[in-house]
Structures are given as C-alpha cells and as structure tokens.
Amino acid sequence: MMDNLLFVIFPYAAVLLAVVATAQRYFKSGFSYSSLSSQFLESGELFYGSVAWHFGIIAVLIGHLIGLLFPERVLWFNGVPVRLYILESTGLLFGLLALVGIVSLLVRRIVSARVRAVTTPMDVIVLVLLLIQVALGVYTAIFYRWGSSWYAAVAVPYLRSLLALRPDVQLIAPLPWVVKLHIVNAYLLVAIFGFSRLVHMLVFPVQYLWRPYQLVIWNWNRWRIRGQAPALSQQPVEASEPIREPMTRRRPAFTR
C-alpha cells in the first residue's frame, strides 16, 4: 500500500503539480522565472558552489537520461569491466562535484549575511532536498555498486512502466531503502518545481550558444575617467569630452 502511494500515486501527482504550477506561474508572473542571481552580493564562494554544482548535476542528470533511453546500450557498454569502471568512476566524479557544489551553496546561504538577506524559505528547502538527493546518490554509487548496470536492469523498467501508464511497483520493491528514498526525494523535487527557483532551468538562455556576438567597444579610457589610471593619474581629467585613446588593436566590426 505504502509502495503504491509513494511509487505510483506520488510520481503522477508530482508531475501534474509541476506542470500546472509551472504553467500558471509562467502566465501569471513570467518575470519570476529566475534563480535571482546573488553573485553581486557574494562571488568568491559562489564559484565553488555554482560551477561545481552545475557541471556535476547536469552530467549526472544526462547519465540518468541516457540510462532511461538506452538501457540495453548501457548494459552492452558495461560488458567490458574496464568500461564499466570508467563509467562508474566518471559518474562518481560528477556526483562528488555536485555534492561539493551543493554543500558550498548551502554553507554560503547560511554564512553570508548578504545572501541570507535575500534567501527565502523555499530556497533553503530546495538546497536541503538537493543535498539529500545528491548525498543518497553518491552513497548508492559507493555502497551499492554498480549502479549504472542495475539501474538499467531494475529501475529503468519501473520508470518506463510509469511513463507507459502501466506502473509496476514490484520491479523496485526489493531495492534497498536508500535507493527508494532517492527515488521518492526525486519526486518531491518534481513536486516543488513550479514553486521554487528550479524553474530557472526552463528559461536557460540556450540561444546564447548560437546568438551572434555582441561586441562592446570602449571609446575612452575607463581608468582615466575614474581617475584610477596609474600612469596618467597626474593629468587633469576633462570630463566634458571623452578622452580618446589610441586604438592599439583593430577588431572586426561586427554590427549584428
């Protein structure tokens, strides 16, 4: 009964909630689709948090997706032990990277007074749930080896049964509770998706990858304007007209 509730009813309810809440928020307050950058408030710790977290979690999520889409291919790849070990070590690396990142982000939220000032309760909930999720994943990778293979053989058939609307909870019933908690926590993250900063992944500016350059050309010496240019600081600054500096490098004149 409990298994049905957690692994059949909950995932469908979570997806439904995520879709409805996300759509409603988009149409009612589309400008709230952001993770609200706090880089200006604190950038040192953020580097170790944000960069490590995003590289780690994106690679891990892609790994889960590949397993879901091509389980037979994954099992075939793992057929040679060395390849299995390389895949598992890579997975562990990105899992650990995500763990370092999420711990940094959580510590930064708590320690930095400036960041704390702009932190909502939902931000903390998201960070804690993500920390639990990644910690359980890393624990599973280390203690219940080799996850990439048995995920493809045991968990993927269950996930596919959910997607096919013919849920079969028996497939994952015998898995250890750590793995079950990992699955339930994932559904919890889906459920809060529309109410949290997680929506920012839907408006990730992927078009930046193929967008034409935007070339910024400074026609004056910024340092000199601010009176900070070390060599020229003795000269009076004429603020009324821009101080031209000789163009030392000609750049292509992109106009778009």
């Binding site: 950038s43 590289f55 032990p81 070590s89 080799w146 293979s149 045991v154 019933a173 898995l175």
Partner: protein
C-alpha cells in the same frame, strides 16, 4: 517340522525378493513420475530459501511446519510476512528476529497454490523424507572449458542470450576485475559452500530472490549458460580467508573511492585554472587600485 520350517523359510525368502523387486520397480517408477504440483511450485517459489528436512537455509526448514502452525496462520504468513510482523504476531516476530537481516518478501500466490505446497510438506513430513528438486540437474556434464566461458558470462564479456544483465552488475566474486563486482547483491565467492549443488542449480534455473525474480523472471538463463555459470561459481577460490566472512555486507571498494576523490580534486583545480581570471569582486579591486 523341519521340512515345513525350511519350506516357510524358502517361501519367505522368495516373497522378500519379490517384495524388494516390486519396491524397487515402484520407486524407479515413482522417480520417473512427473513431480506433483506442490513439488513443482516448491522448487520454483520456495527452494531458493527453504528446505524440507535438510536444515535451515536463508529461511527455516519447513519440515513439520504444518504440525507447528495452523493452516490459516500459514496462509496469512506466506502471503504477507511483513504485515504479520508489523501487526505484532509473536511467531512472525520471532522468525524475523531469528533470520535477520533476511526478510521474506510478500508472495503473489493463490490459496490453491499454498495448499498444494502445504500438502507436499505434509506428505514429506509424514514419510520423514527430504525434498530433492526434480529439475535441478545440469543439461550436460561440466567441462574445464566451461569455467572460463562462465567467467565471461559473469563479467558480461559474453551477453546472456535472453537479455538479462551480467552478474557483475550486482554481484562480486573474489578476483573478478580490478575494482571487483557489484554489491547490490551478495558476494558469490563462497556460494558453492553455502549451497549444495542441486540448490545452486535450482537457483540458477529459478532465482526466486526478490530482485533476481524481477530481472530474470522474463529473461531466464539458458541451460548452456547455467552449466557454464555453475562451473565458474564452483571454481571461485577466496582470495583471502576473510572474503567469506564479509560476504553479503555492502562495503567500500577503496580504489574506486580513491579514484573518485583524486579526480574530483583534479576537476576543482581544473575549474580554477580555466576561470583563473574570473571577476573576484568589484569593490576590493577598485579600492586596491586607487590606494596602490
């Protein structure tokens, strides 16, 4: 008198011989008979964890269980042992405690099937016989070449015909691969000591353990694969005496974790190198420049 006595002795001997022959014939015929529905069910569904008359395995020996417990209790317990344990049934609790950490999973089984199994247990208990699986035989004798073929199946170098995942996904044995096999399932190094040959063959034919059942229920091993894996598992030698003691306990593979952390350190250093000229702040550099 003596003549009569000799006559009766001779006829007694003749009858004994006839009786013995008839007994042998009956027993040979009985061996040739198809196993009862209860025996087939027991072999498929229960034998992985239970014996009848030859001692405890992962679960208790079921000889005499129909005399020890009521039929209703047995029906209820077989269908959902965990529910009875949760409800606080003292006998269920005692079983869970005795056989921890093994937990008997709920069985998807009908009342008629349970009755057939209980009838088999009744019969063998009454006759004081042990259960010997009828189908637990290899399809052909094992040859030395099977050991390496079995190893290839175990690690996945040769795929299982019906699409099942390689054993290494969840199990390890001593000396397999540099980082060993999986730890979701138990270490199989000493599996030939833990199980008798027919038991091991029966498990390979019908792995009725919860996870194995879901994975291999629709993708069974072929007869040939069973021979080869059986040969390999019989020949795995523990690398050191502690292997058997630790079997089944999820444990860390030191090299795997070390590799993970070393590469993590490399990755963090790499990220710092790539972004070494990142903006580290706005106000501090301004102040530094103006004061220098």
């Amino acid at each position: 008198m003596k003549g009569i006595s000799m006559m009766s002795m001779r006829s007694g001997f003749t009858w004994s011989v006839i009786g013995l022959c008839a007994g042998l014939l009956i027993s040979i015929e009985a061996r040739g008979q198809a196993p009862s529905p209860g025996a087939t069910l027991f072999e498929k569904r229960c034998y992985s964890c239970h014996n009848i008359g030859s001692g405890d395995k992962k679960g208790p020996d079921l000889k005499g269980v129909t005399l020890r417990r009521s039929r209703d209790w047995l029906h209820e317990y077989i269908k959902s042992p965990a529910a009875m344990n949760r409800r606080g049934d003292p006998e269920a609790r005692a079983l869970f405690k005795k056989f921890a950490p093994e937990v008997m999973p709920d069985q998807d089984i009908t009342d008629e099937q349970i009755d057939a199994i209980l009838a088999l247990i009744d019969e063998l208990t009454r006759k004081n016989e042990t259960f010997v699986p009828a189908g637990a035989k290899l399809s052909r004798p094992v040859t030395p070449a099977d050991i390496d073929l079995g190893r290839q199946l175990f690690v996945g170098r040769r795929a299982l015909s019906n699409g099942g995942p390689a054993c290494i996904s969840c199990h390890t044995v001593s000396g397999v691969g540099r980082l060993g096999g999986g730890t979701l399932g138990p270490d199989l190094t000493a599996v030939n000591v833990k199980y008798r040959d027919p038991e091991l063959i029966a498990i390979l034919q019908n792995p009725n353990f919860p996870t194995m059942k879901t994975v291999f229920g629709t993708r069974p091993l072929t007869d040939e694969e069973i021979v080869q894996l059986f040969a390999y598992l019989q020949n795995v030698k523990p690398a050191h005496p502690t292997t058997q003691a630790l079997a089944g306990i999820a444990r860390i593979e030191p090299w795997f974790v070390t590799i993970g952390f070393v590469v993590l350190l490399g990755a963090i250093i790499g990220l710092n190198v790539i972004w070494k000229s990142r903006l580290r702040g706005v106000r501090e550099p301004l102040v530094r420049r103006s004061t220098s």
